[in-house]
Symmetry: C2
Subunit: 198 residues, 2 copies
């Protein structure tokens, strides 16, 4: 039997989805209520500051998830190549081959950017820095790693835009493949060296 009273945390995922699909302005309280199954009363009980607080909560959860699933391995794993590989796999899953919009990226190109600028900046800075760290651990010099990490994050955002514009997930797939070739260094066998294929 389902719980009759809801928790704030249960609302985050449907909130994220409705903001992704309709944007900040487009996500009306009617749509939000429908997506979360919560009435206005409940929504304003959990998020007294309305839509703005809902988006902030969603952005915080997105940041938390990326930090745990993507940034931390990039920063901490000894196997930098493996962490980068895993990042590309995670990204492919998370954005559903480009069918799913990046909420943070979408907010960045909207007029609501300024309202969420801190969270938006944090998301991307965290990503670029974490990837930079992995690239340096690969043995690349700082400047090249800086350029490359920025370029990779940028390419992922562009891939979402273009694959949605052309309605073709293969565009996203190709972009990820290209990145794998550009980011994962050849001849680096420090990932365990269990290459016993003889």
């Amino acid at each position: 039997m389902a719980r009759l009273v809801a928790e704030r945390s249960d609302a985050i995922a449907p909130l994220a989805e409705v903001f992704r699909e309709h944007g900040y302005e487009g996500a009306s309280l009617a749509l939000i209520g429908e997506a979360t199954g919560l009435g206005k009363g409940s929504l304003y009980h959990f998020f007294p500051n309305g839509k703005e607080e809902m988006v902030q909560a969603v952005l915080a959860e997105i940041e938390r998830w990326f930090d745990e699933a993507v940034y931390a391995p990039l920063r901490d794993e000894v196997d930098a190549n493996g962490a980068i590989d895993a990042m590309l796999d995670s990204v492919m899953d998370y954005f559903r081959s480009g069918r799913r919009v990046c909420l943070v990226g979408a907010l960045a190109v909207s007029n609501t950017r300024d309202r969420f600028s801190q969270a938006i900046r944090g998301y991307f800075v965290g990503w670029v820095d974490a990837l930079h760290s992995a690239l340096v651990r690969q043995g690349r010099d700082d400047d090249q790693a800086r350029l490359l990490s920025e370029d990779a994050v940028l390419a992922i955002q562009g891939a979402i835009v273009l694959s949605r514009a052309l309605d073709d997930p293969a565009v996203f797939q190709r972009a990820i493949d290209q990145l794998r070739g550009r980011l994962v260094v050849e001849g680096n066998h420090n990932k365990g060296a269990n290459d016993d294929s003889h």
Copy 2:
């Protein structure tokens, strides 16, 4: 003395700006009226189908401009390297170093995508195809040119997103520089051979 009656074409530029700044949903008729200096009467006289027709008109004008200023040179100029160089300069100007949003890209990641899918697709297909043509004329093989042209258009969109997210035009600048290095071939002196620097 300014003309008392307006023309439809005069409204396109302010319309483009207001849709860029506020998105489709965010651009209310009040904002549109303010931006264009036109009342509802005039707006619905010129665009009987309302906002949708306004956006379609803006997208048509954007497509026309890009086709004339960017795609045509990429397709037709004998100097492919020069055309690509000019494209990157135009892009830098047009998007104001990433400060200005790409309306087509923004629509592609919004829920209004389906309504304008044909125009959105046309814009990006036109760009990728034109760049592909220039890259082939450089002497590259078809597959590499395909990948590279897609990658370049994608990188420009991503650069807009990231530079806005970080509020740093230098990100956009670096992305354009990177593209110049990747797209403009060295040692190709078929651009007129007026290299009389001896």
